[in-house]
């Protein structure tokens, strides 16, 4: 198990290196620069700015020094969620926790990319968390009920929701929810992120598509389990149907779901680009799209690296949990 984790950790290093390199050079070869857009600066000012941010150095040297700033130097994960400035919210302090420094933002004067990310990420994380919760809370019971009541009306409700999630994408569902919940029913705000009820519509819009997948996977896994011998044994023992489903079948039936959580988390992270735009949530997705448009080099590369890192770590965690749940996988490869 330890060797497996170590090997997977080592494998992530080249992956991250490829991502950093691709993002770094892609954004650098774009025509236009961070100081060009709004008003044209006098050439001396521009030169000074470039010198200040080190953009006048040869590209190769910039790349190497960036890699140096980026590589983790310490391992203090508890400081990631520490509240350093004492405002009651956790600060996502990558520098204090791992020594990762994304450098200064080129568009926000006097703010580092780390600070901008720390300001925006909590919104995205909270949105993603709620969405994942919606996906599981709606999806798992639907899937279980559909499997238990196979080919009855329960099953048809389950497939109905699955179809809805399959063919109504988030950017249609989001506006529809605003139309229904905020404009006709007047129960919710059309946008914003202040009151607790502001979380409802974005989380449902983002989570429902995944609830459909979760329901389908759970149904498949449960059907698989319910036809196993040990279920028959449990029935023969006289266990109640409820106990059979919840105690015996559910554990194995949820296995396929675990494998899906990796891609789902990645999808929810990037899916929030659209939701943050529709509901005007100041999260990281909006920040990323904006900074790509304004050529904020360091901001773009920083967010890409952060997203990629999150996805890689999530996939790793899912792999480990899977091996832990299913020992047969340990001897694979």
């Amino acid at each position: 198990m330890f060797r497996f984790i170590l090997r997977r950790l080592l494998e992530t290093i080249p992956v991250m290196l490829v991502i950093v390199t691709a993002a770094f050079f892609m954004i650098r070869f774009l025509p236009g620069g961070p100081f060009l857009s709004e008003k044209s600066l006098p050439p001396e000012v521009q030169r000074n700015l470039e010198a200040h941010y080190g953009l006048d150095q040869p590209l190769g040297r910039q790349y190497l020094s960036y890699l140096g700033d980026l590589s983790p130097k310490r391992l203090m994960p508890h400081r990631l969620f520490a509240d350093t400035d004492g405002d009651g919210h956790f600060d996502f302090d990558l520098k204090a926790a791992f020594g990762i420094d994304f450098g200064p933002s080129l568009r926000y004067a006097n703010r580092s990319v780390n600070e901008v990310i720390a300001g925006a990420l909590p919104y995205s994380l909270e949105l993603g968390g709620w969405a994942l919760l919606v996906a599981l809370v709606v999806g798992v019971p639907l899937g279980v009920l559909a499997a238990v009541g196979r080919n009855t009306w329960l099953d048809y409700i389950g497939s109905g929701v699955s179809l809805l999630g399959l063919c109504v994408p988030t950017f249609v569902l989001g506006p529809l929810l605003v139309l229904g919940g905020a404009i006709y029913l007047q129960q919710f705000n059309a946008s914003g992120w202040e009151e607790p009820r502001d979380r409802v519509l974005p989380a449902v819009a983002l989570g429902l598509a995944y609830a459909a997948y979760v329901a389908r996977l759970t149904r498949g896994g449960m059907l698989d389990m319910l036809s196993q011998d040990f279920i028959r044994t449990a029935r023969a023992k006289g266990a109640s149907e409820l106990r059979i489903v919840l105690r015996h079948a559910l554990r194995g039936g949820l296995l396929p779901l675990v494998a899906f959580l990796g891609p789902a988390a990645a999808g929810i992270l990037t899916g929030s680009f659209v939701i943050e735009r529709i509901f005007q949530i100041p999260g990281l997705g909006r920040q990323f799209v904006n900074s790509a448009f304004t050529r904020d080099y360091t901001m773009v590369v920083g967010t890409v690296v952060l997203y990629a890192g999150a996805v890689v770590i999530f996939n790793l965690a899912v792999d480990i949990v899977q091996v832990w749940l299913n020992p047969r996988l340990r001897f694979d490869s």
């Binding site: 236009g32 139309l179 404009i183 890409v304 990629a308």
Partner: protein, 315 residues
């Protein structure tokens, strides 16, 4: 399935009786029969055909234009004259929908072809050659698979946007880049499926026979192996198109895909949700068309999978 592929230049043509016999139970005909019995798939196919025909013919027949403005008739509700109403500039929503569908379907098909070409070639070569090359090629697929590729597609589109602006390229350039950007990330699953199939197929007798005939590797891959892969490839292609259309709409929604004055379903949905408060049909019409198209493509794909009896998983 297990038949010698015809090689007209090396083997004498097979006797006609054998060809007759073979035609009696061809894979394609069986599949067609099964597909026709699947009502959902047939409905989906009919819907898609009607949509395609409408996109291709209706604008010409009715003399519709996606950019013609009638400022006296802004925000007209759906009714005779303008079946789906008009928008903020008095443009006919039906016309914009039909042209938008054209672009969305064209992007969907073309990007799928791009991803199909890359994926099939990649998977076939990896599976056929095997060994170290296979390991390396599939590791690359694994690595790319682990990337948050939406992020990279966005970067790629911003890149192409800036390039188009500095070189004065028209909106067609953007659509071309959409093909490339989407095709470049959607080929992975196809490569995996094709590789798996090639791994089993290459051990079969007809490949051995082809090798005995001293045929080149390229010829064996493209003439003998690929035709046997058609089933899974067709099925997965049908299921890729909705994914690609989703990605296109997603990008257009973020302002990175199709640019005005052209419209795609994604830009129409974006424009619609800006004004849905007072004019709901501007959102509902393109949203409904988009959802129905996705639904039909998924049903057709599922039907094809059942008909061709492919065991590949849906996801």
């Amino acid at each position: 399935m297990l038949r010698l592929s015809p090689n007209s230049d090396r083997l004498p043509p097979p006797p006609p009786a054998a060809a007759e016999l073979e035609r009696g139970s061809s894979l394609g005909r069986d599949a067609w029969r099964r597909l026709r019995r699947n009502r959902l798939a047939v409905t989906a196919a009919v819907f898609l055909s009607v949509l395609l025909l409408a996109c291709a013919l209706l604008p010409g027949l009715l003399g519709l234009s996606y950019s013609a403005q009638d400022l006296n008739l802004r925000y007209a509700a759906p009714g005779p004259g303008h079946w789906f109403g008009t928008d903020r500039l008095g443009r006919d929503v039906l016309a914009r929908l039909l042209f938008g569908c054209r672009i969305s379907l064209a992007v969907g098909l073309a990007a799928t072809v791009v991803s199909l070409t890359i994926g099939v070639t990649w998977g076939a070569v990896a599976g056929y050659v095997g060994g170290k090359l296979d390991t390396v090629m599939m590791r690359i697929v694994d690595i790319v698979y682990a990337l948050p590729f939406t992020v990279f597609v966005i970067l790629l589109m911003v890149f192409s946007d800036a390039f188009a602006k500095s070189h004065n390229l028209g909106p067609t350039w953007n659509i071309l880049m959409l093909f490339v950007a989407i095709g470049a990330v959607e080929w992975l699953t196809m490569a995996r499926i094709v590789r798996g199939q090639v791994l089993t197929l290459k051990r079969m007798e007809f490949v051995e026979a082809a090798r005995v005939l001293a045929l080149g590797h390229g010829r064996i891959i493209f003439r003998h192996l690929l035709p046997n892969l058609l089933g899974p490839v067709i099925v997965y292609t049908t299921l890729t198109i909705p994914g690609v259309m989703l990605l296109e709409a997603f990008l257009s929604f973020l302002g990175l895909g199709v640019k005005a004055p052209m419209s795609s379903l994604g830009t129409l949905i974006y424009d619609g949700q800006l004004e849905m408060e007072s004019h709901a049909w501007l959102l509902l019409c393109p949203g409904a068309v988009f959802s129905l198209t996705l639904l039909a493509l998924n049903f057709l794909g599922d039907g094809l999978r059942d008909a061709l009896d492919v065991r590949a998983s849906a996801d």
